[in-house]
């Protein structure tokens, strides 16, 4: 029999929060050792720690305090959350209407662009200048591309890293850094790898898409997962073509040389930032134009109800392959920029975890919402860069997944459609939660079979 006082919701929630905090405490605590098997436990709970720099105490006191604060917030939100939210939406109705006007939106986008251009000069720090490229810009480029596949067309792609790898390897090939002879017999500048990479990833997208996109949902996810793995294994084992597991270290920096104009990228990160920013802007324009075109509407139709879409004359396979190929293009770009900025290339950088990372950015930002995905990618990647650069005491790099996982779970509970959800997606999710009617996964065509 559960005692009656435990059945009260606030008490129950307090116990849940305490339980979660106890687990977090254990996870973030020191590891155990062979000599002292229980040292992991005692160290996690009873280790001396300073109470947020105020006075000395033990770790468990700190975490109980944390639990109480978290519980307080949860209680406050359950009691007053609905009121706050409804008042908030009333108060924001005016600004929201203004923000939906076209000139306002364009102006806002231009202001952000100016900020983006000035950013490397505002951030006057070598680490952050390079982080803007390696942590942020590249990932934004990848996330907006995957968003076309996952968000617009509703196809779960777990092998997106393959297109990134193809872009990077194409760069190495075109510049003569691989054992394979470069095209036309002599190496080209890395800048000219861009058209090659785009053509190659689009072809790869079509080749992968045409046979596999007949599958739905989970089946498609498994096949794309396989594709990602195949590319890595190819890169690892085809010594004569890709250089095998050691990859290559000879990719030159890009040079833009047309007529009298010549620009050489070097070791400094800022020029790469502008190259990446340019590509991001290009793809943002391309993808948002596409979203608003009939191609975008056909994608929406397929995502919402493939059977109904087909009954209107939409060829689902054609539009899905299109989404795959278009989404892959930005990954190709990202591959070129990374490969030529880093000069080196290893098959081991193109892993399943990488694909999942990109997918997490898309989900957190808001599937189908371009602005959401951009903002989501920036936030997550900046946090990641910060944690790697100035790790808090006891933080190790793999810990990141614990935090990202926790963030993902929290998001799924409170904002399932993402940080800045697209309006359609939010509606789809609420509709799906209230009833399963008309959901794309439903393949029932009628009651008599």
């Amino acid at each position: 029999m559960i005692p009656t006082f435990l059945q009260r919701a606030p008490i129950r929630r307090l116990l849940i929060v305490l339980g979660i905090v106890a687990v977090v405490e254990l996870i973030t605590g020191p590891p155990g050792s062979n000599q002292y098997p229980t040292s992991g436990f005692t160290g996690s709970y009873a280790e001396a720690a300073s109470f947020f720099g105020l006075f000395r105490t033990q770790r468990w006191v700190e975490f109980v305090a944390l639990a109480l604060v978290a519980w307080g917030i949860v209680e406050f939100w359950t009691r007053f959350g609905a009121t706050i939210r409804s008042r908030g939406s009333v108060a924001l109705a005016g600004p929201r209407q203004v923000s939906e006007k076209r000139p306002v939106r364009v102006g806002f986008a231009l202001a952000l662009l100016v900020l983006g251009i000035l950013l490397p000069h505002i951030v006057n720090n070598a680490f952050w200048q390079s982080a803007l490229v390696t942590y942020v810009a590249i990932y934004v480029l990848l996330a907006i591309g995957l968003n076309v596949v996952v968000g617009f067309a509703g196809l779960l792609d777990l092998g997106y890293v393959a297109f990134y790898a193809i872009g990077a390897y194409t760069t190495a090939w075109v510049t003569g850094a691989l054992p394979t002879p470069p095209p036309f017999g002599h190496p080209l500048d890395a800048f000219w790898a861009i058209p090659f990479a785009v053509v190659f990833v689009v072809i790869a997208g079509v080749l992968l898409g045409a046979p596999t996109l007949r599958l739905r949902g989970d089946y498609l996810a498994i096949v794309t997962l396989g594709f990602g793995e195949i590319i890595t294994i190819f890169a690892n084992n085809l010594y004569g073509i890709t250089g095998g597991s050691t990859g290559t270290k000879q990719i030159p920096h890009p040079v833009f040389h047309v007529g009298p104009i010549k620009y050489t990228w070097g070791l400094a990160p800022v020029p790469y930032y502008y190259l990446a920013l340019g590509s991001v802007v290009l793809f943002l324009v391309v993808f948002s134009l596409l979203q608003r075109s009939r191609v975008g509407r056909a994608w929406t139709a397929i995502r919402e109800d493939e059977v109904a879409a087909e009954s209107l004359g939409i060829n689902p396979l054609k539009f899905k392959v299109m989404a795959f190929a278009v989404g892959a293009a930005s990954a190709g770009f990202a591959g070129v920029i990374t490969a030529s900025a880093d000069n080196f290339l290893f098959p081991s950088s193109f892993t399943l975890v990488f694909s999942i990372n990109i997918l997490v950015l898309v989900i957190l930002g808001g599937m189908g919402s371009i602005s959401g995905v951009v903002v989501g990618a920036i936030i997550i990647q900046v946090i990641q860069a910060y944690l790697n650069h100035t790790p808090p005491a006891g933080y190790q790099q793999p810990d990141l997944y614990i935090y990202v996982g926790a963030l993902l779970i929290t998001m799924m509970i409170f904002r399932p459609a993402g940080l800045i959800p697209s309006r359609q997606r939010r509606r789809e999710i609420t509709l799906y939660e209230t009833s399963h009617e008309g959901h794309p996964d439903e393949v029932l065509l009628g009651d008599d079979v």
Partner: protein
């Protein structure tokens, strides 16, 4: 084999494993006719619809779709989107709207041309794309007016009433400029006054737009008042064909719906 027929279905058999869903079904539909298919639950009506629209592929028999321009198409073996593109539109038994989109966008997706353009063409919005876009907007507005949903154009499909959703689905089907419209239980879940409106709308679709109508319906009053000819399916086979008056008097039909006297006494 007259050219006045839109559909000619001959000896069609459709199986799912050991289950025979359609058994040697032969029927035809004249151009401009309102034809109904009735039958008890599980008789194979929706299977017939899915076979006519390319969703199911029957193992035996032929289905020919004759277009007004004299060209014919063999439906079996064609993908659903090809059949739809040739001029066969349909609605679904459990209404399948794009629930998160507005009524307008639902119809507009139907009205748009889904082939003959590339990614770049759609993106750049050249004169042709803009022209196409304007035309589908006009067509959409016109159809919403036709089905009486002009003032609901910006409402999200999921928040429309059941009857409105049925009418929206008809508008979406009509937006593809079909020659035949297949309606799978359009009156299911609607109230009596909505049913009357729907019957009037279906007749207007035929009279004013010249679209041939094939109908599955359980509501006998509606079917008998609307259809000019009927087929009765039972256990996947056609058991009767005729005008509403003939069907009503047909002993085989009465038996299928009410059971035999032997069964009744057993």
């Amino acid at each position: 084999m007259t050219a006045e027929n839109v559909f000619e279905v001959e000896h069609v058999t459709l199986r799912f494993g050991g289950v025979v869903s359609l058994n040697d079904v032969s029927l035809f539909q004249k151009r401009g006719e309102i034809l109904a298919v009735i039958g008890p639950n599980g008789a194979g009506k929706t299977s017939l619809f899915n076979s006519l629209t390319g969703v199911y592929q029957p193992q035996e028999g032929t289905i020919t779709f004759h277009r007004a321009d004299g060209r014919s198409m063999s439906v079996i073996g064609k993908k659903a989107h090809r059949v739809a593109g040739a001029g066969v539109a349909r609605t679904f038994q459990a209404s399948r709207m794009f629930s998160a989109l507005s009524a307008f966008d639902n119809v507009k997706i139907g009205a748009e041309d889904h082939g003959g353009f590339g990614v770049v063409g759609a993106m750049v919005r050249g004169p042709r794309t803009r022209h196409d876009d304007r035309r589908s907007d006009e067509k959409t507005a016109e159809l919403l007016r036709f089905v009486g949903l002009a003032d609901r154009a910006n409402v999200i499909a999921a928040s429309l009433s059941y009857g409105e959703r049925r009418r929206l689905e008809i508008a979406r089907g009509l937006a593809t400029l079909p020659e035949v419209l297949l309606l799978d239980e359009p009156a299911a879940g609607t109230n009596p006054s909505e049913k009357l409106d729907l019957a009037r709308l279906i007749r207007r679709v035929r009279d004013e737009l010249g679209v041939t109508i094939l109908l599955i319906e359980h509501d006998m009053k509606l079917v008998m008042s609307l259809a000019e000819r009927l087929y009765v399916l039972n256990f996947g086979s056609v058991i009767a064909e005729g005008t509403p008056a003939e069907i009503r008097a047909n002993p085989v039909v009465i038996e299928a719906y009410l059971g035999t006297s032997a069964e009744a006494s057993a």
